[in-house]
């Protein structure tokens, strides 16, 4: 069981309501998509769910087998520690870390990175190195031992950081923007495998709708700050409201 639930969630800027959601649950269906026209509030919703943006009102709860936890009082890093991580729409990275270091960082637990680690004999365990190598070698980086070179490589590292951290629920904010097609497919296939194996649940926010139709088990449609329709890809695709909102009827 794994579910991220938002209830009566609102966010306003200058009395302008960007998000107003009565109830929505993510993570119940495996690989889910979140779509909607520009200005629908998708990015704001992602920010609210990961506590980067404080909501105007409403509650967010994460339920797992071990119990239910409210995210409202948590800080950004605490949200990540209970298993909720987001990839970034705009390119974000650690400029001074190599690709490998960036991935090592993402999968190292907090208790292994304290002051004591300054005097540790080896830096990272074999398990860490193995996993990092697996991800780095799966993709054609220009310099596997060095830094991400292009915007595309930085974007890919951003996604891999989140995958290697093995969250319970991964939110992917426009993962394809800036990535070549073949890399996108490879990433999405990897994500699909992980979801199928039960390792994690994923929500993908995308404007590349063909990708959504191909990969997602379930799609949420957000427009004007509210969830207007939810269902399996075919249902959403053929739904009149969705078409109308995209086309502007």
């Amino acid at each position: 069981m794994m579910q991220l639930e938002a209830t009566n969630l609102t966010k306003s800027y200058h009395e302008h309501e960007v998000v107003n959601i009565e109830k929505v649950a993510f993570g119940a269906m495996g690989l889910e998509g979140l779509i909607g026209p520009n200005g629908a509030g998708k990015s704001t919703l992602m920010g609210l769910l990961t506590r980067r943006i404080a909501p105007t009102s409403g509650s967010i709860k994460l339920s797992t087998d071990t119990g239910t936890k409210s995210l409202n009082p948590l800080r950004s890093h605490e949200v990540a520690r209970i298993g909720l991580i987001k990839t970034n729409q705009r390119i974000q990275g650690f400029d001074s870390l190599t690709i490998r270091d960036s991935l090592r960082l993402a999968m190292t637990p907090p208790d292994a990175e304290g002051l004591k680690s300054i005097f540790a004999k080896t830096r990272d365990s074999d398990e860490v190195e193995e996993k990092v190598s697996y991800y780095v070698e799966a993709f054609p980086f220009t310099d596997r031992e060095g830094h991400a070179r292009s915007g595309g490589e930085k974007k890919l590292v951003d996604i891999l950081r989140c995958l290697i951290a093995e969250p319970k629920l991964l939110l992917m904010d426009e993962p394809t923007a800036g990535l070549p097609d073949d890399i996108t497919r490879k990433v999405m296939n990897m994500v699909r495998e992980k979801v199928a194996s039960g390792a994690m649940r994923v929500v993908v926010v995308e404007h590349d709708l063909p990708l959504i139709w191909e990969y997602c088990d379930y799609v949420h449609f957000l427009s004007e700050g509210s969830i207007l329709f939810e269902g399996e890809p075919d249902e959403v695709k053929s739904n009149r409201v969705v078409a109308e909102k995209y086309m502007g009827v």
Partner: protein
């Protein structure tokens, strides 16, 4: 007006537009496309706020491929971005006044025109632009651009995030501006239905490439749906 030849553009290393060629005449030229199709990139490039990676850009036959952005208003181009389209700390009046710096007609005359088009702005002249509602902000943004007395008006998704009533008002204002003042309008939109009501020609972008370019009369919703992948 605008002639675009083999245009490539994007942010830093990332290319968004791939070899785009078209010409805008004296008309409402609509650019339709789903999220991420490259509409904003195109308009920013036309406003010279993004560097041209390759290709040429001509305005009234004059090459403006490398013209600095701040000279474009003088050449008759006004640009309304989708986000950050007003100066939030400045009052409504100051926003309009900044727009009114170019052109030959007196400010007062242009102000009167903008207030006729958007009467709501007149009630809020001393309010900070950042405190306006989304719809009012959009009106102010368009009003500011019109204060420049432009020959070409570049509008980037003016309907995004607006309630349907505001969208109606805004689109009729755009149509009116075209009719009354003969301004050429390049309108980037996701909202296809509303756009088709006022556009003369429509270009549909899909993932940075031109999907089609036709007169409105030759276009069906089905053509567009295909580009939107719905």
């Amino acid at each position: 007006m605008f002639e675009v030849e083999n245009l490539r553009s994007g942010y830093g290393e990332i290319g968004v537009l791939k070899e785009l060629s078209f010409a805008v005449q004296d008309e409402i030229f609509a650019v339709l496309g789903s999220n991420g199709a490259g509409k904003t990139t195109l308009l920013k490039t036309l406003a010279r706020l993004l560097p041209v990676q390759s290709g040429r850009l001509k305005l009234d036959g004059k090459d403006v491929t490398d013209a600095p952005a701040h000279t474009m208003p003088g050449a008759g181009v006004a640009y309304v971005p989708q986000e950050g389209n007003v100066f939030p700390d400045l009052s409504v009046m100051e926003n309009l006044s900044i727009g009114g710096r170019t052109g030959h007609r007196p400010k007062a005359e242009k102000l009167e025109e903008v207030f006729t088009l958007f009467p709501r702005l007149k009630e809020r002249t001393s309010q900070a632009a950042g405190s306006l509602s989304g719809g009012e902000g959009q009106m102010l943004a368009v009003g500011r651009a019109l204060m420049q007395d432009p020959k070409v008006l570049l509008l980037d998704e003016p309907s995004a995030g607006l309630s349907p009533i505001f969208v109606d008002t805004l689109f009729s204002s755009i149509a009116e501006t075209r009719k009354e003042r003969g301004v050429t309008i390049v309108l980037a939109e996701q909202n296809a239905v509303k756009t088709l009501e006022i556009a003369d020609r429509v270009m549909v972008l899909s993932l940075g490439e031109m999907h089609l370019l036709r007169n409105r009369s030759e276009l069906t919703m089905k053509d567009i749906t295909a580009a939107y992948h719905i």
